[in-house]
């Protein structure tokens, strides 16, 4: 066996704390080591060529690169080995940067640690076996979950490239939160005007199968070959017959508060379309509120429908679709401001949430765009906008929701536009305007006469004093710029509620085998370099489901996710990682302990042979099943017992040889 060891200086990243030259010289004496070199940047082309030359000239059959984390450069060095004709799995990395030079202050200790890590790798790499990744074909259809602007964008990009998309939306119409908004910052263009063409296109595209009022229940399979079970809820409307005339909605006697699209500020009927431009145009009957479904009487909609499209007997359908990739763009929930009782939402009528205010300013909303108090008649003369409600607050959500400053500025502008002469106060902690033309918008607002008070508002109460304050709300808070308590009586308070993960995001994550942050936002593969992919190959995330963001960023992510999917479809084949588990069918006792232990549902039980079998495409090589197996029948390739023991022995032998560790420590 001929092993080559390459110790990287990483400029001064490693060399500042590890004596790389000494380590390289020391490693040349390790068993089986043919050549040991050190070099300033192993990852450079010259560094890689060094390895390639040695493999070819010296006939190396194993390579150890002591540098940074394999997360960083394992593909680089495996690639170098492969180019020189060596199986890439015969290359092993020692992480002497994150695990040694960056975490030790003492140069001697860091050098010793590097030696131990390299010895471990040299000892391990001897047991490496050549492994060969398999190829699987890719189904060119895509499942997009969530019909907000992120999902619509992603679906259109893929559909326009000529591939089938299943776009699944939980509500009766696509559009998401963006459809609720009136104006969008900083350009103040009409949200519906820019969104509805996209909604219409998605609804009528020949390559998009639109499934609204539907939810994905189960996903199985792996990248290139997923099967998704989708429940299409009964609309109680025959879509073939319905013309979308809206007569049923007009005549329906039931009026209930619409907590979803109107954010609680308006009402809708029991048979309804959330808004006039809804896509698809067909209404749904809300069976929880429909008099016929509750009491067995009414059927008024059936009587008035000119095309007999009402179908009370309709059942939920469960569809199974086969797709190669999945994009999860399920959006966000608005923070429930009632959780902060001192701001009075749900206690005082004239405290409004941000989404309520969006609906209020919307010309198609409950007040036809007029800014009114809760009585639906009075016009406020003064409005306080409180920033960071539920955001940037360790008691609720620690994160900054990113859009609230900008939409609060937009609110202030809209109040001044609709009610000239009104007093508008912004209670803010910091004004955060990181976006193109955003700061300019803030400056415009400063000039328009909005009053800015720097300090988190402490409370909103009805504790007025004197006749002139009668009926007003008192906002209190510290003005940190002048160092004084402020007490501002206003007619209306708008709470700039933050963005939080969907209430059921943990369940959704489980359905798609992806993970969530503790808060509940979906976790990306890498926060900076791979924010679209997830740890599950073939499942991508876009929009606010991954974290709060504004519309331009959401649309960009939708397109990015589509590009990722298209590149996989274009390749046509996926490579399946070879470092995965394998069950020895001869010794497997069929106890199925491994099946319960697998976090990726990657192990099947073969009923006919009574043994477990690992699905090669699903297995992530985590090794949990190996530990769970009672009969020691599972091997994790590239992490075999032999390899791991050899690695530990290599490290321990070196440490003991260098300096005896006192037993008491």
């Amino acid at each position: 066996m001929k092993i080559g060891v390459y110790t990287c200086h990483c400029g001064s990243n490693i060399a500042a704390k590890v004596d790389c030259e000494h380590v390289a010289e020391w490693a040349s004496d390790l068993e089986g080591v043919e050549i040991s070199r050190d070099y300033s940047f192993m990852c450079s082309s010259l560094g890689q060529e060094l390895i390639q030359e040695d493999i070819q000239k010296l006939g190396l059959d194993r390579v150890v690169v002591a540098s940074c984390s394999p997360h960083m450069h394992e593909p680089t060095f495996r690639g170098a080995c492969q180019r020189a004709g060596m199986n890439p799995y015969l290359c092993e990395m020692s992480n002497i940067r994150e695990h040694a030079s960056w975490v030790h202050e003492d140069r001697g200790e860091a050098t010793d640690k590097a030696k131990a890590l390299i010895a471990a790798s040299v000892s391990r790499v001897r047991y490496h076996e050549p492994l060969f990744p398999k190829q699987a074909p890719v189904n060119d259809a895509t499942l997009v979950v969530g019909g907000g602007v992120a999902g619509i964008q992603a679906a259109l990009e893929i559909a326009n490239a000529g591939y089938r998309v299943y776009l699944v939306e939980r509500e009766p119409s696509v559009g998401g939160h963006m459809a609720q908004l009136d104006k969008t910052f900083p350009t103040l263009d009409c949200s519906a005007c820019i969104l509805t063409p996209k909604m219409f296109e998605a609804g009528n595209h020949e390559n998009i199968t639109l499934l609204t009022y539907s939810e994905v229940e189960k996903v199985s399979g792996y990248i290139g070959n997923f099967t998704a079970k989708i429940r299409v809820r009964a609309r109680s409307i025959d879509e073939v017959l319905c013309t979308g005339c809206g007569l049923c909605e007009e005549k329906c006697p039931v009026r209930i508060v619409d907590d979803v699209f109107e954010a609680g500020l308006g009402r809708r009927k029991a048979v309804y379309r959330p808004f006039p431009q809804a896509v698809p145009k067909y209404p749904v009957i809300d069976r929880e509120h429909c008099t016929y479904f509750l009491k067995g009487k009414c059927r008024l909609c059936e009587k008035v429908c000119p095309t007999q499209a009402i179908d009370y007997e309709q059942q939920d359908r469960v569809l199974e679709v086969e797709v190669g990739n999945i994009i999860v763009a399920t959006g966000y929930d608005a923070f429930d401001a009632r959780r902060i009782p001192q701001y009075g939402y749900g206690r005082y009528p004239n405290v409004f949430s941000a989404l309520e205010f969006e609906r209020m300013t919307n010309a198609a909303g409950p007040t036809t765009g007029k800014v009114l108090l809760r009585d639906g008649v009075s016009v406020p003369k003064s409005v306080a906008i409180i920033h960071c409600v539920g955001s940037r607050d360790v008691r609720y959500r620690e994160h900054c929701s990113r859009v609230c400053c900008m939409y609060s500025l937009k609110f202030a502008h809209l109040v001044l536009e609709k009610l000239p002469g009104a007093d508008v106060y912004n209670f803010y902690i910091d004004i955060r305007t990181p976006g193109k033309d955003y700061e300019e918008f803030y400056h415009r607002l400063l000039e328009e006469g909005t009053k800015f008070i720097r300090g988190r508002a402490a409370s909103v109460s009805d504790a007025t004093l004197g006749e002139e304050e009668e009926g007003k709300l008192i906002v209190t808070g510290e003005d940190t710029l002048i160092g004084e308590q402020r007490r501002v009586p206003v007619d209306m308070v708008v709470l700039s509620t933050g963005l939080e993960p969907r209430h059921d995001s943990h369940n959704v994550a489980r359905t798609f085998s992806i993970s969530c942050s503790r808060e509940g936002f979906f976790k990306e593969k890498h926060p900076k370099l791979d924010p679209i992919a997830t740890m599950t190959d073939g499942v991508f995330i876009a929009g606010c489901a991954q974290g709060p963001r504004d519309i331009p960023d959401t649309v960009a992510q939708g397109s990015a996710a589509a590009a990722r999917v298209l590149s996989i479809i274009g390749k046509g084949q996926v490579e399946i990682e070879a470092a995965i588990a394998e069950v020895n069918a001869l010794t497997c006792v069929g106890c199925q302990m491994c099946i319960g232990s697998c976090p990726y549902n990657a192990i099947d039980f073969l009923e006919d042979r009574m043994v477990a079998e690992v699905n090669e495409a699903l297995c992530k090589g985590c090794g949990t099943c190996v530990a769970a197996c009672l009969s020691k029948s599972i091997t994790l390739h590239h992490f075999t017992d032999e390899q791991l023991v050899a690695q530990m022995m290599g490290a321990m032998d070196t440490l003991f040889a260098l300096e005896p560790v006192p037993m008491e420590a």
Partner: protein, 320 residues
């Protein structure tokens, strides 16, 4: 139910009515109170900012005097006493140095205290969460449905956070009083400060704070402000006439302890409930109670123009 009982200094002076009625109510509810022998002052709010160690030792002495095996929980009716007992226990548990220093001081008097052995409880907490509002309601014989009672908790209940009730919108007193039939409005200043010892430091500031509290209670047509703290009671009651002369107002709102209301509900003779010790007369409230004219709840008019209003979180079934 047997608890150690720490009356606190006010029990022997301005808050005598609270101490006496707490004992009466406890007896009626089957709570046995074991007064801590030879207890001393808790140092109130001031001592902690003057000298740390003696302040801690002063409170810890009371905890050390509790027979923790027999009564591992101590009831304090006064919110300041309650918070001090709780704070000392928790901080001694958290900080080893403090524990050692305090115990060194206690050793001079032949005492020691192991933090975590005596849990301080507010009397309101015991009544609402151990006895339970439902059990209290069952014991009551007179409905309070002719009264509008303003629940005022003061700033110590619910503070610091993770106390037995919400910091900003506590509910226990609301639930207790509504359980007795009273009309209980959402008093938004319920957990605001009463001024504490501010009347001794800055009368102008104190009167401003008190006026705000009284003004909102008057606006809600309160027949009385109900308190679980002798400091709040004293400030609102004794300085009410000061507020009137300073601001030209005309408040006559009786300030009563929740234990006095419980006593009335459970049928105790009003003459035994120490109402005579109040500065602002309680007579109008008692008269109203005697007349027993239930308050008519305002009919909700359905205004077609009005926009829908979000339900309070406590009434939203989907969220519970």
């Amino acid at each position: 139910m047997k608890y150690a009982y720490y009356p606190g200094c006010t029990a022997e002076a301005s808050g005598a009515a609270y101490d006496a009625t707490s004992r009466m109510v406890a007896k009626e509810l089957g709570i046995e109170l074991q007064e801590i022998p030879d207890w001393n002052c808790c140092g109130a709010t001031e001592y902690f900012s003057i000298d740390h160690l003696p302040a801690y030792a002063l409170v810890a002495r009371n905890l050390a005097l509790v027979d923790a095996d027999e009564t591992p929980q101590v009831i304090a009716p006064c919110s300041a006493c309650y918070i001090n007992l709780k704070k000392v226990d928790e901080n001694m548990l958290k900080h080893k140095d403090l524990r050692a220093d305090v115990n060194e001081a206690l050793a001079e008097g032949g005492l020691s205290y192991t933090p975590g052995t005596v849990r301080a409880r507010h009397f309101l907490d015991i009544v609402c969460n151990e006895v339970g509002c439902e059990a209290v309601r069952e014991k009551s014989v007179h409905s309070m449905d002719s009264l509008i009672l303003i629940p005022y908790y003061g700033c110590y209940i619910g503070r610091p956070e993770q106390n037995f009730d919400d910091t900003e919108n506590p509910q226990s007193l609301d639930r207790l009083l509504s359980g007795l039939g009273a009309h209980v409005p959402d008093y938004s200043l319920k957990s605001s400060c009463c001024g504490g010892h501010m009347p001794q430091i800055g009368m102008e500031i104190a009167l401003g704070i008190l006026r705000r509290l009284l003004d909102l209670a008057a606006k809600l047509n309160g027949d009385a402000i109900v308190v679980p703290c002798p400091m709040c009671q004293l400030n609102l009651d004794a300085y009410q006439s000061y507020v009137n002369s300073r601001f030209g107002t005309d408040f006559h709102i009786p300030i009563v302890y929740f234990t006095q209301i419980l006593g009335l509900a459970m049928g105790m003779d009003p003459s035994t409930l120490h109402f005579g010790e109040n500065v602002v007369s309680v007579e109008p409230m008692l008269e109203k109670l005697k007349a027993a004219q239930p308050i008519e709840k305002p009919k909700k008019k359905r205004d077609k123009k009005a926009l829908p209003m979000p339900l309070p979180l406590s009434q939203d079934k989907e969220q519970l």
